[in-house]
Amino acid sequence: MNPPDDRTYSDSHEWHKLDGDIVTLGVTKFAVDELTDITYAEMKPAGTVIEAGGSIGEIESVKATADVYSAVGGEIVEVNPALESDPSVLNSNPYMDGWLVKLRVTDTAPLKSLMDAATYSSKHQTS
């Protein structure tokens, strides 16, 4: 599963997809493979304001817990409702159905310093 080239990637394995003033954020296939089976995801609730580089929540696997960070600041406007009923959607489809939160952003500049899909792929081999 290759990272799609319609979004940007951080060193801490999050993807950010900009659409107007909304950034949809998730984690990469490489990250969920490293974590193994995702059993739980808890995002900060809608309405929470996140600073650039701040934590938006945690995802948890059988073996470990990991913080998820947003490269951009903004307000969480939506948390993926599918996470609660079936967090394994992160394993099966991390780039589409497994998105984590949508943020309303004012300053999209930090996204420009992130990696494109090709650069991310070359740094992190995905299976």
Partner: protein, 371 residues
């Protein structure tokens, strides 16, 4: 890194390899939860060759082992296995081991990989002038565990004798012209066997199993399972793990393993006392400050090793192992809490960063296989 004779099999099966106590071992092949469920419903094949296997032989072997082990050894029958602790002078745990009595004057111990070298030094130290030959055959032998409710049916295709074995009994079988030791033991809470055999035939033994079972088929009776599933399986079965529930600084008596500690062993032949006896007897007489308990939680969020356990805002314990139980589909944990709070039903709080997880003390094991 050290490699077991099954290293190629792990790579061929897509194992994700990690460094485990200096050995390159598979943490998983397809997924921890999938492998866990495979073992609970049918069967799994685990490479446990990284564990230490040490043979003891000689005139004073029983005295040596009575000195080493907290559990009585001398009344074991040939063909019997017993779980025991090895304590330090302060009454902490050096390791937990499985003792096999091979014959009148020969025994074998299976020890944790991470403790093998430490124990080999300890064996030498406590041997004194006892006549015992100590032979570490870890590098010359392999060990696999076949675990799950359908394993014995499969074994029945190779042997009529092994399915007749009682729990914690073993036989020495001729397999592929060499001797293999097959015990009805395991570390998953399921029925099954563990097999110890020379390295030279390890690959052929797997080929023998492969003739009956195609691991790659979705409905295979047994499939390879990694150390990740082994850990969640043993946790559901309430079995302690060194480095988590057991350790040099954790009082042996607090670990809910009194069945494996015979405080009266010196009254029996050969009247040898175990190392750490005075300290452990004191733990038993005075009680220990904390005790090992099982804990169940609501929701899906798991605790983690090292998280603090509180009651009414006071620190009362620590989590030693935890996961979202794949069988029960709820979070389970083991940990040490103040002895006054160790009764079933006691409500506790586990501190998970900024959040608190509500937990309740429950009896162990969390899961028991149907007979």
């Amino acid at each position: 890194m050290l490699k077991t004779p099954f290293n190629k099999l792990h790579h061929d099966a897509g194992g994700r390899m990690v460094d485990f106590a200096g050995w390159e071992m598979p943490i998983l092949y397809t997924g921890i939860i999938e492998e866990h469920k495979q073992v609970r419903h049918s069967g799994g094949l685990f490479d446990v060759s990284h564990m230490g296997r040490v043979w003891f032989k000689g005139k004073d072997v029983r005295r040596f082992l009575e000195r080493l082990c907290t559990r009585r050894i001398s009344d074991m029958q040939p063909g019997q296995c017993r779980y025991s602790l090895v304590c330090n002078e302060a009454g902490g745990v050096r390791d937990d081991v499985l003792v096999y009595r091979i014959d009148e004057s020969e025994f074998m111990l299976v020890v944790n990989a991470s403790n093998r070298e430490k124990l080999l030094g300890h064996f030498d130290e406590i041997r004194g002038d006892l006549k015992v030959d100590i032979d570490d055959r870890t590098m010359k032998t392999a060990m696999v565990a076949l675990q799950g409710p359908k394993v014995m049916d499969l074994i029945g295709k190779f042997s009529q004798e092994i399915p007749q074995l009682k729990r914690y009994r073993f036989v020495t079988k001729g397999v592929l012209m060499v001797k293999a030791l097959v015990s009805r033991t395991g570390y998953t809470g399921e029925d099954g066997v563990e097999v110890i055999l020379p390295n030279s035939v390890a690959g052929m033994a797997i080929d023998l199993i492969k003739r009956e079972v195609d691991f790659t088929k979705p409905d295979a009776i047994i499939k390879p399972a990694g150390l990740g599933a082994r850990d969640t399986l043993r946790l559901e079965a309430g079995m302690p793990l060194y480095g988590h529930e057991l350790g040099e600084d954790i009082p042996a008596w607090s670990s809910d393993l009194s069945f494996a500690i015979n405080l009266d062993k010196a009254e029996h032949e050969p009247k040898e006392q175990f190392i750490g006896f005075d300290a452990v007897r004191e733990q038993a007489e005075k009680g220990t400050a904390r005790k090992l308990v099982g804990m169940a939680m609501e929701g899906r969020r798991s605790a983690r090793q090292g998280m603090i356990i509180q009651r009414n805002g006071e620190d009362v314990g620590l989590v030693t192992s935890a996961c979202l139980s794949p069988t029960l589909e709820k979070p389970i944990a083991m940990g040490y809490v103040d002895s006054a709070l160790a009764d079933n039903g006691t409500k506790l709080d586990i501190i998970a960063g900024e959040r608190t997880i509500a937990a309740e003390v429950v009896g162990l094991p969390f899961y028991k296989a149907k007979k």
